[in-house]
Structure formats: C-alpha cells, structure tokens
Amino acid sequence: MTSSFRRALLASAFVAPALFGAAAQADPVKIGFLSTLSGPSAPLGVHMRDGFLLAVKELGGKLGGQPTEVLVVDDELKPDVAVSKVKALIERDKVDLLAGVVFSNVMMAVAKPAAEAKTFLISGNAGPSPLAGKACSEYFFSASYQNDQNHEVMGKYAQDQGYKRVVLMTPNYQAGKDSMAGFKRHFKGEVLDEIFTPLGQLDFSAELAKIASAKPDAVFTFMPGGMGVNLVKQWSQAGLAGKIPFLSAFTVDETTLPATKEAADGLLSGAEWAPNIDTPENKAFVAAYEKEYGVAPSLYAAQGYDAARLIDGALKATGGKTSDKEALRKAIASAPFKSVRGAFKFNTNGFPVQDFYVVKAVKRGDGAYVTQTVSKVFSQAADAYAAECPLK
C-alpha cells in the first residue's frame, strides 16, 4: 500500500508494546481483581469490588503493611475475555495475587491459567463444584462459599418446614442445574416440576401461571441479577406473594432489593451472611460501606471485603512477601483474619467452613430494604465435595 500506511503499522507495532508493557515495576503488592462490571449482572461485580476496595482503603491502602495496588478488570462475563485479561494481569502486570470473580463459568476458565502460573486466586464469590472436588488446587481459596451450599440451605429449610410438594425454577445453565441438585440434597419431598428458563429471560408470566396451577407448598428459585428482579416483581404482581412461600438463593439480596423494594418483602433466601449478623467486625463493615457508597452492602460486598482482609492477614504472616509460595499458602490456609461472618476457617480444599442462614427481605427503619437472618440452618458446615479433593 502506501508509505503513510506502512508508517502507521510500524508505529502501532512499537508504540503498543510500550503502552501495554510499561507497568512492570515490582515495588508495591499488586493484586489483580477480576469482576463483572458491565452488562446486566454488573451490580454483583460492583458490590464485590467495592467491598474489596473498602477494606483496602480502611487499611490505609496497604495490605499486610505493604503499599498495595489493586488492578480492577472487567471480565464482561465472557470466559475467553476473562482468560486473556487474567493472562495480561499475570504476564504483563506481574500481579502477586488474583482475587474476585463473580461467575462460575468465568472462574472455571481462569482458575487453570492462574494455577499454571502459580498465582494464588482468592474467590470473592464463585465456588464451582469441580474446584472444590477433583479439580481443587493449592493455588485456589474461596472467601465465599461452595456454589451448592446456599441452595442446600433452602432445601434443608424446606424439609424442616415440612413442605411436601415444591416447584423448582432456575435459568437453563449449569449453575441452575447445580442449584436444583443442591436443593434436593436435603429436601426429601416431592418435586412437582423443574422449570428451566432461558438465561436472561425478562418475563415470567408463563412460568408463574404454571406454578399457580401446580399449587405447590413452596417454590424454590435461583435467579441472579436482573432476572431475579423481574421474577420478584412479577411474583408479587401475580398475587403469589404471601400465598406460596418463596425460597431462593442469590435472588433476593441487597443488589436487587433497591429495584424490587416492597415486592420482595418477606421473601426468603439462603446465605452465609446478612447485614444484621452480630459481630463487631460486621457492624463496622456495614456502617462503613453505607457511608462510603450510600447503599446497603450485599453478601458479594461482604465476601469482597473478607477477601481483602484475608489477603491482609496472610501478607502480615509472611512479612509482605509473596515469592515463597509455600509460606504464602500456609498463611492463607490458616485464615488469619476476623471474618464479618463470625467463625471462619478453611477446609482442606480451600473452601470455608462456616455457618449458613435463612434470611428474609425486610424494610429497615430508614426505609432501605435489606436481608435479615431468620434462623441458622447449618453450623460450621463444610461442602459436599471436599472429600473428593486430593489435597490434604
């Protein structure tokens, strides 16, 4: 073609690596934080990120006493994009640790390259079953839960309440199927119908009519993000609220309550955290979060916050060093921090052993809708897959 064209190409070839390859200094502790920040599921990722950054800020911008730089990256909820961004964090930015990840499909994609690069990955939310079982890794720790557990909570709760006939409804993807499996692990009654809806479905009128005609004792659902908002609003509009118990996981929480408000009033959810858990750390966290961001924190925020404090504790134990992988691993595994959830320790597979609750959406004194614990369903529970993990 032309000389100017050639010049442009050559320029791009040399400028670009300079542009992208510049930030490779090794002074502060660098943490790559992967979260979903665009698209309809962004609120979850924003909460998780904000919780993490709040903890870093409270610690004076230092984790383990070391100046800390957090590189926040949007995974766009696309596994392949996430992989390339994680590789960028590891190879270009030379991060010392990775954290975050809201969605399990993204986690399944990035866990392998992270482990291959011997970079620790602290999950702020996603806890897919393979990583808890056969494919567990010494470089993976979860500051959240194993995916099945919050669903198990509701299954156990439904069993304890004596519900005989339930309808299950989840989006048609792996996490939805896992959710149903988790629910059924402790529920022994009859499952009238398993409804799978297309991922991203907006209108649930067809499914609600089906549920109403089945007349179940209770409904269990898992509808994260915007889908949950729609479902809850339409559930209430269809006059089902108050008639059929609504059991859920990751559907009614502080990321969706601002949109559903009173429509969610009284709906139940399984969770390992709620704003009213009575520990000094939690009280301080909730107050600080609301002061900083003007909204009530969700469990994603709490997990993000805990992830940062976990890293802080571990780095303190290693004296801020991240080069000795074995020492760092031991430090993290000892869970050297006070979780906002209360008692918290790691199992052999890197997942927490913790309490689980049934929580309920309520209107707080100041008019904000938040979740509140109703009863503790599991005490210091481990996940169902730990036994399959070869790590000791």
């Binding site: 073609m1 032309t2 000389s3 100017s4 064209f5 050639r6 442009a8 190409l9 050559l10 791009s12 070839a13 040399f14 670009a16 690596p17 542009l19 992208f20 390859g21 920040l37 665009s38 926040v72 990256v73 949007d74 909820l77 696309k78 596994p79 392949d80 992989v83 390339s84 590789k87 960028a88 590891i90 190879e91 270009r92 399990s104 499909n105 399944m108 994609a109 392998k112 390259p113 989006p171 048609n172 993807y173 792996q174 996490a175 199927k177 991922l199």
Partner: protein, 322 residues
C-alpha cells in the same frame, strides 16, 4: 500497445497482495519484538489479534467479495471451537485430524444453512443467518455433557504430528499468524481466480451474472461454506488459546463485532479486515485499561469513523497518500 496498457491497468493482484504482505510482516514483526522482549502477554494478545482477524477476514470475504452479509458469523467460529472441544474429549487433539474435521463439519453446517438462507436477499438474508446462529447457540447451550451454558475447559492443547506446537504463547501466536497468512493470501488470490471474478460480479450485479450463464446460487453457497470453514479454523485456535469453549463465543454481539471489524477496515478490502480487527482489539485493550466504560469510547470511535467517512480505514490511508 493497447494490450500492454490493458495489462498495466489489469494487474489486479499486486496491490492487495502488497497490502496483505505488509499487514502480515507487521504482525510478524510485532510477534518477534514481543518474543524478544519476553512479553508473554503481548504475544498472547497478538495471537488473539491474528485469530480474530482470521475470523473477520472470512466474514470480509462474504460481505465484501460475495455480497453476503452474515449476522451470524460468530456461530461458525464458535462451532469450530466446539469441534476442538468435543473432539478433544474423544482424544482427537492433533491438528492433522482436528483441522480438517473442524473445517468440514462447519463448512457443511454453513452450506446447509446457506442453502436455505440464500433463498432470500438483503435484510431477510441477514436475519436468517442470525436465526441459524441463534439455533446453534441454543443447541450448544443445552449440551450439558459439554458444559452447557457455562462452557468447558479444553482437555488439552492441540498438537501437530504429536508435537505440542500450541503449548507455548510463541507457538500459538505463530500458528495463528500462519493461519491468517494462508487465509489472507488465499482469499486475495481467490478473488482474482475465475471463481472469484464471478463471485464479485454476482455481488454487484446478480442479474448480469445470471444472464451470462452463471448459477450464482452455487457460487455463493461455496463461498459461504468456505468462509465458514476458515472461521472454524480460527475457532479451533481460539479454543486452544483460551483453553476454554463456551456458547458465549456464538453470541450475536460477537457477530456484530465481526461486522464492525470488517466494515471499519473497508468492506471490500480483505487486508482491511485484518486492520479493522487489530484496531478494534487495540481500542478495546487500551481503553479497557483506563476505564470500565470503554465501550462508550469504542462506540464513539465507531460513530465518528462512520460519520466522518473514515469507516473505510484503508481508504483513509489511500486518501492520506494523495
């Protein structure tokens, strides 16, 4: 005398081939630089550019040469990736087997869908290609054996004659470059063969081609199958790069992005598609580094490019020369 004049004007291959060579040499140089600097990320980014460019290139062949605007080309890439995934589950991971398999499977899928879609024209064609892509998307989404909506990690990276050529970032980048080079030169060459001449004539003036005695339908069908096969090869490499395959590869937004790359690079210029792909990925990467609102920036760039008639980047370069 007249013959000579005609020859001079009719030297059709030289310009696009020279442009193609430039693009490829630039990419090769960048890969070399990245390798020399030991920058693994930059290498893997360049591999992604080459893979995406190959996909965009095959779409450019459809849009710019055959006049078939497909709004579902990402499905072809995704299906290629799924062939790699599924074949890998059954122990087929050598490119000597995997590449032809992916090519044939996806070319067949493309041919079957095109046989139906080619009954329509214009926007109807666009929407039918989208419809078939959505069907492929939902089929893959329902295959829980292969990860369903979550997707699934590749069993292992592909080999070539048993050698793990795709194991390293450099190997992958070079393989992607080789595929891109083969596809680019192949497509450029193809447009000047007898087949390509008819294809281009049919794009611009279908009734003329028909009246001259060409069965336009067949030409377009082959083009669609060929482009699908090449996109599938890009998909195989994409699967190997991410070591992960999911239905999101086939999302209609991806198809839209491929069209953006093609049109941004100048729809009728094959090397332009490569430049378009590189520009979009670089913008995405550069802006994404600064702000989570990078799509706002990308959108503004696209709108500005179209409004200011810079949509045709290669034309822009051409204008700058004059």
């Amino acid at each position: 005398m007249i013959e000579a004049a005609a020859f001079r004007q009719d030297e059709p291959l030289r310009r696009p081939l020279r442009a193609a060579a430039l693009v490829l040499v630039a990419l090769a140089a960048a890969i070399l630089v990245a390798w020399a600097m030991g920058n693994a990320w930059w290498l893997s980014f360049l591999a992604r550019v080459a893979i995406t460019a190959t996909a965009a290139l095959s779409l450019s062949c459809l849009i710019g040469q055959a006049g078939l605007v497909s709004f579902g080309h990402a499905a072809q890439v995704g299906l290629g990736a799924y062939v790699a995934l599924i074949a890998g589950e059954y122990g087929i991971a050598d490119l000597t087997l995997l590449a032809p398999l992916a090519f044939v499977v996806v070319a067949l899928w493309s041919a079957v869908t095109a046989a139906l879609a080619l009954r329509t024209r214009g926007v109807y064609f666009i929407m039918l290609t989208l419809a078939f892509a959505q069907m492929a998307y939902f089929i893959m989404q329902s295959l829980s054996r292969f990860g369903g909506d979550d997707g699934m990690a590749l069993a292992r990276r592909a080999t070539l004659f048993g050698a793990p050529v795709l194991k390293t970032d450099l190997g992958l980048a070079l393989a992607a470059l080789a595929l891109l080079a083969a596809a680019l030169i192949g497509f450029v060459w193809m447009t000047e063969t007898r087949y390509g001449l008819v294809l281009r004539a049919a794009k611009e003036n279908e009734s003329r081609a028909l009246a001259s005695g060409f069965r336009v339908f067949r030409f377009q069908l082959y083009a669609y199958a060929l482009a699908g096969g090449v996109a599938a090869l890009a998909g195989v490499l994409l699967a190997n790069q991410a070591e992960f395959v999911s239905p999101s590869y086939m999302n209609w937004h991806r198809s839209g992005e491929l069209i953006v790359m093609v049109v941004l690079g100048g729809a009728t210029s094959l090397p332009g598609a490569v430049i378009g792909a590189a520009v979009v990925l670089i913008i995405e990467e550069a802006l994404g580094h600064w702000t989570e609102f990078w799509k706002l920036g990308l959108g503004l760039v696209i709108v500005a490019a179209v409004l200011l008639r810079g949509a045709d980047l290669s034309a822009l370069f051409g204008r700058a020369r004059r």
